[in-house]
């Protein structure tokens, strides 16, 4: 039995079916919304010793691991991380067998062409391919089947309790929901994601600020199974108070805003809060390396709201945002549209403009356009905000995923249980204790999904375990 319907769940189900196991997959979402957060992804980070079809150059295991060490600041399990990295070099041929197709890196993502293989059509196309393959393999797929309870017996989980479809996007994870059906299984793979869609739960860590967060992924990741698993004795891993938060357009829908809600002009202008004050160096580093800290920065501002302000010089230099900015011919007019104090806004912009040291602007490098004698400084790409029309884009924290999960071993087995395996976001914290590097979520999900599926199948069929051999 596989609980979940995203990338890790499907990888587990497919490998288990390939091994000859009878597989049932429980997806809490309806058919049209299946696939969890994976439908919003676009690539997978893969190591390779030489150029491979869509991947350029070389990205070896050590560099991969160093990247991981850098973003996690060492909060990773090296053994598990090395398994993920090693197998990431060969997993794509397996993915292709299941109908997944790849393409060269997308427009505006050349910086990822060496490290990340892009799915043709994105993550939803990938999930469609996996679901089609699952149907061909005879995997029983049950949509709208949220698991509301796990039946434990000592160190084993005997069965999952399926609730009404309406339980799929409810927040009360500890409540006893009506049970529609009990499904028994010999082994269970849990790939049901994190709890980022559960705003009351986020409030435990972030306080009332969480009410102003937007969730970049689906509405189904309420953490119901994660909670039950931890309550049943699984060992938790990952900081329960942390989540991956980026700055996104404040007008994004509460759920499923996905990639398009990003605002890519932060480094080209200045960012002010609702009190019209700047609060961080907008030009600290290239935007792809900085967008992930801005979620937290904006979360720390009043009302969890900030504005990225640019002038005509920035126009046409950044990826087109999905919502049009507030536009004005003068700065006071813009401030009024932003509903921030006009006098303070003018003071902030004038102080910033006065501090700009002229240089040679080049957005492709860390240029020498910076400020002097102002705090916070803007260390690169600092140009005066002076040419109308002026534009402002509202920013809010957008939550991508949470770090809290369950501890697993090299076999993806959940510590404390004999027949339970975990894959994907629910165990990603083992490898990615903090931070993020593009495409690693899909790598962890794919590799541990396959390990979990293979081990669960082997155990269910009563065969001798063949550690990882089955995957090669």
């Amino acid at each position: 039995m596989v609980i979940g319907g995203g990338n890790a769940a499907l990888c587990a189900a497919l490998v288990a079916a390939e091994s000859g196991a009878k597989v049932m997959l429980l997806e809490s979402a309806p058919r049209d919304e299946r696939g969890g957060n994976s439908i919003h992804t676009r690539n997978i980070r893969c190591m390779h010793e030489a150029p491979q079809d869509v991947l350029t150059d070389v990205y070896d295991a050590d560099e991969y691991f160093e990247d991981l060490l850098r973003v996690t600041k060492g909060v990773t399990d090296e053994t598990l991380a090395r398994i993920v990295i090693r197998q990431s070099s060969s997993c794509r041929s397996w993915m292709k067998q299941h109908g997944v197709r790849f393409q060269p890196s997308l427009g505006g993502t050349l910086h990822l062409s060496r490290t990340n293989a892009f799915f043709l059509g994105g993550g939803k196309a990938l999930m469609n391919a996996y679901y089609r393959s699952a149907e061909r393999f005879g995997i029983q797929i049950r949509y709208q089947s949220p698991v509301v309870g796990l039946v434990c017996e000592g160190r084993r989980i005997r069965a999952a309790l399926i609730g009404e479809p309406s339980a799929a996007d409810r927040d009360d994870v500890r409540l006893e929901w009506p049970v529609r059906e009990r499904i028994d299984a010999k082994t269970i793979v849990i790939a049901s994601g994190g709890f980022e869609s559960n705003i009351p739960w986020l409030t435990e860590a972030w306080g009332e600020a969480a009410a102003n967060f937007r969730i970049r992924g689906c509405r189904f990741n309420r953490g119901r199974v994660l909670r039950q698993l931890i309550d049943a004795g699984a060992q938790a891993i990952g900081d329960p108070r942390q989540c991956h938060a980026v700055a996104i357009d404040a007008r994004a829908p509460l759920y499923d805003g996905g990639i398009v809600t990003r605002v890519d002009c932060v480094s080209l202008g200045i960012v002010v809060n609702t009190e019209a004050q700047r609060f961080y160096d907008e030009g600290e580093d290239f935007w792809p390396k900085r967008y992930a800290i801005w979620g937290r920065l904006v979360a720390g501002q009043p009302q969890q709201l900030a504005w990225s302000v640019i002038d005509a010089q920035a126009q046409g230099r950044f990826m087109p945002p999905v919502f049009p900015g507030e536009e004005a011919q003068s700065l006071p007019e813009l401030a009024r549209k932003m509903k921030v104090p006009v006098a303070q806004f003018m003071e902030t912009v004038e102080a910033y403009n006065a501090s700009v040291v002229p240089g040679r602007f080049d957005h492709a490098v860390l240029d020498d356009c910076h400020t002097q004698g102002i705090s916070p400084a803007k260390t690169h790409w600092a140009l005066r905000i002076e040419k109308p029309p002026f534009k402002a884009y509202p920013l809010r924290p957008g939550i991508t995923f949470t770090y809290l999960g369950v501890k697993v071993d090299e076999q993806a087995q959940v510590l404390g249980f004999d027949n339970v395996f975990a894959a994907g976001e629910i165990m990603a914290g083992n490898v990615l204790g903090q931070g993020y590097v593009a495409g690693i979520g899909m790598t962890i999900g794919t590799i541990f999904g396959r390990i979990a599926g293979a081990r669960a199948a082997t155990m269910a069929l009563g065969r001798q375990a063949r550690p990882q051999g089955i995957l090669q």
């Binding site: 393409q103 059509g121 469609n128 499923d256 290239f286 046409g316 990826m319 087109p320």
Partner: protein
């Protein structure tokens, strides 16, 4: 840019406004970039005016791949449906570029138009054939010209066909006047290969989606059969015309003669292709297209099938009593086809070809945008 097209760049129709909204969201996402030409063309723009939307709409081959891949498709609040949005604009663009302009509104009544064209053609041919009974007995039973004299055929079909060619030439000119871009070395050759090979009718390699999200190359193959079958039939008619005027050889020709072989092979290909396309169109997931365009699509492939099938029937029956009736039916379907050419789905090839020409020229010129990586 002409005065009229400047105006059009500001005034978007409701369908174009929706298309521009959709493209605005797609342009921030770009996951579908590898499927076809539409998305790379979109990425060269930040805003979308009416001309841009007509261009992108005609570049779209309606393979449907991007609908199922879309993370913003219904039930998402953004409710993106790229294939349908572009299909709506495309159909309106056929009417917009049609010539004479007043006849553009025929695109709104495709079912009625098809029926009238068929009945009208049949009536004309039966009238001609009846008026001649007895007067051409000297030509013998097996001669097609005993039923409809050669001269009458030439005048009737020649004038209708010439008008169709004229109307479509003017339409093409009206389109290109708004869309022309500077030529680049090698661009047009690439375009021709893309057109001849239906490069963009395959969802990025594995084919179009039909009833489910599973891709299939069936539509591409059936389209090839219809298109090249049509060209073979056209070649057959051209060869027969040469036979008639240069060598003085009169139809019907021997079974192994070039016109009959070309026509037979072409007719079979067209029959298989159009019948297959018709079945696929009827079964296809309706969400992928514009419901208002359904009669146009179904009507057009049905007529194509009728032309091909009646031609093959004529070949089989040409030595029998039924030759006369089958000849009239075949000629009526061909005449109706000629009449409808400039005001039916037939023009999709015209505008799509020009849009592809524009696309490859554009792709070979420097990108006007210099966006930073995000």
């Amino acid at each position: 840019m002409t005065q009229a097209s400047r105006f059009r760049s500001i005034m978007l129709s409701p369908a174009q406004t929706e298309g521009a909204r959709v493209m605005g969201i797609c342009n921030s996402c770009r996951y579908c970039e590898g499927f076809c030409a539409v998305f790379p063309a979109m990425e060269r723009r930040l805003d979308f005016n009416a001309v841009d939307m007509d261009y992108l709409a005609n570049l779209c081959h309606n393979c449907g791949a991007c609908y199922h891949a879309c993370q913003y498709a219904p039930p998402h609040a953004f409710a993106l449906n790229v294939p349908r949005s572009l299909a709506r604009i495309r159909k309106a663009s056929y009417a917009h570029y049609a010539w004479p302009v007043a006849l553009g509104r025929l695109y709104q009544r495709q079912g009625l138009l098809l029926a009238l064209a068929l009945v009208g053609s049949l009536a004309v041919l039966m009238f001609v054939a009846n008026a001649l009974i007895g007067s051409t007995a000297t030509l013998g039973q097996q001669s097609f010209y005993a039923v409809i004299p050669h001269q009458t055929m030439v005048v009737l079909f020649g004038s209708v066909f010439s008008f169709a060619v004229l109307a479509m030439t003017v339409s093409a000119w009206r389109f290109w006047r708004e869309h022309a871009v500077e030529n680049q070395p090698g661009a047009d050759r690439e375009s021709l290969a893309a057109i001849a090979g239906l490069r963009y009718l395959d969802g990025g390699g594995e084919g179009c989606v039909e009833q489910t999200d599973a891709p299939s190359l069936a539509r591409k193959h059936l389209h090839h059969a219809s298109f090249y079958g049509f060209l073979l039939c056209f070649a057959s008619t051209s060869v027969a015309t040469l036979y008639h005027y240069i060598f003085g050889w009169q139809a019907p020709y021997d079974l192994l003669s070039l016109p009959v072989v070309l026509g037979t092979v072409g007719g079979i290909l067209m029959c298989v292709g159009s019948a297959g396309l018709l079945v696929m169109r009827i079964r296809r997931d309706r969400r992928l297209g514009d419901p208002e365009q359904y009669p146009m699509d179904v009507g057009f492939v049905s007529l194509l099938f009728l032309v091909a099938f009646s031609g093959l029937v004529l070949l089989v029956l040409r030595d029998t009593e039924a030759m006369r009736a089958s000849l009239i039916v075949h000629l009526a379907s061909v005449l109706a086809f000629f009449v409808l050419m400039p005001y039916s789905k037939f023009v999709h090839g015209l505008y799509r070809g020009l849009a592809i020409l524009k696309h490859h020229r554009e792709q070979k010129s420097p990108n006007p945008l210099g966006l930073s990586e995000g």
